[in-house]
Symmetry: C2
């Protein structure tokens, strides 16, 4: 029996203010940071990156990472986004400034960060 | 000669906090509202809608409209998003609640609102 509000609805929306401020955790539940902002690709209307702030997690100092949106998976039971990357990957991840400077102006950096996280480039899909 | 920071770069990003709170204007510059939040399609990572608040513009009462993202065009010289729709279209536009209830659960409403604004459905591209 089909219901209009089924969780299997392939089209399911989330409000930006439900995303921003949400925790980012590893698959084991460990909190690694918080989503500060999204970076949108103007041309396609696609979310390209999430800028994650961290501080005090994993012994890392305060800072920001720009994560390809496709590596984040929302887990309702954790009320968090989960990134399936190792602690070592997070430690050595390419850092970005908190201002969210447009990374699309630096194609080499974009290609590097997508390879780093083994993420599908948002401009190729 | 190619420059890495050229404005013609086809990939150009904008931060979500640069979008939220930004004015929405008509092509003649008249302000009609402010972007309150974005509604993201979880599956595709695409921005599906912008929720616009209005109040006191065009003699309309306070309220919210959910606009298909594809009808909004950022105009740097106005520092605003421009919607090329008439005052009559805005007056009669399908209203939505301020809470940004997930409209993807109501397929008829989604099809109606995209037809209303003559917008390309985000789920079909």
């Amino acid at each position: 029996m089909e219901t209009a509000t089924s969780d299997t609805n392939p089209r399911s929306l989330i409000a930006s203010d439900r995303v921003i401020g949400t925790d980012v955790r590893r698959p084991d539940g460990e909190r690694v940071g918080t989503i500060e902002r999204l970076m949108l690709d103007k041309k396609s209307g696609r979310v390209a990156y999430a800028v994650m702030s961290f501080g005090g997690f994993l012994g890392l100092g305060e800072g920001y990472h720009t994560l390809p949106w496709s590596v984040l998976r929302f887990e309702p039971e954790l009320d968090a986004y989960v990134v399936d990357i190792t602690e070592a990957q997070l430690r050595d991840a390419p850092p970005r400034s908190p201002e969210g400077t447009d990374p699309s102006q630096d194609r080499d950096w974009e290609e590097h960060v997508h390879r780093y996280y083994n993420a599908t480039p948002y401009w190729g899909i």
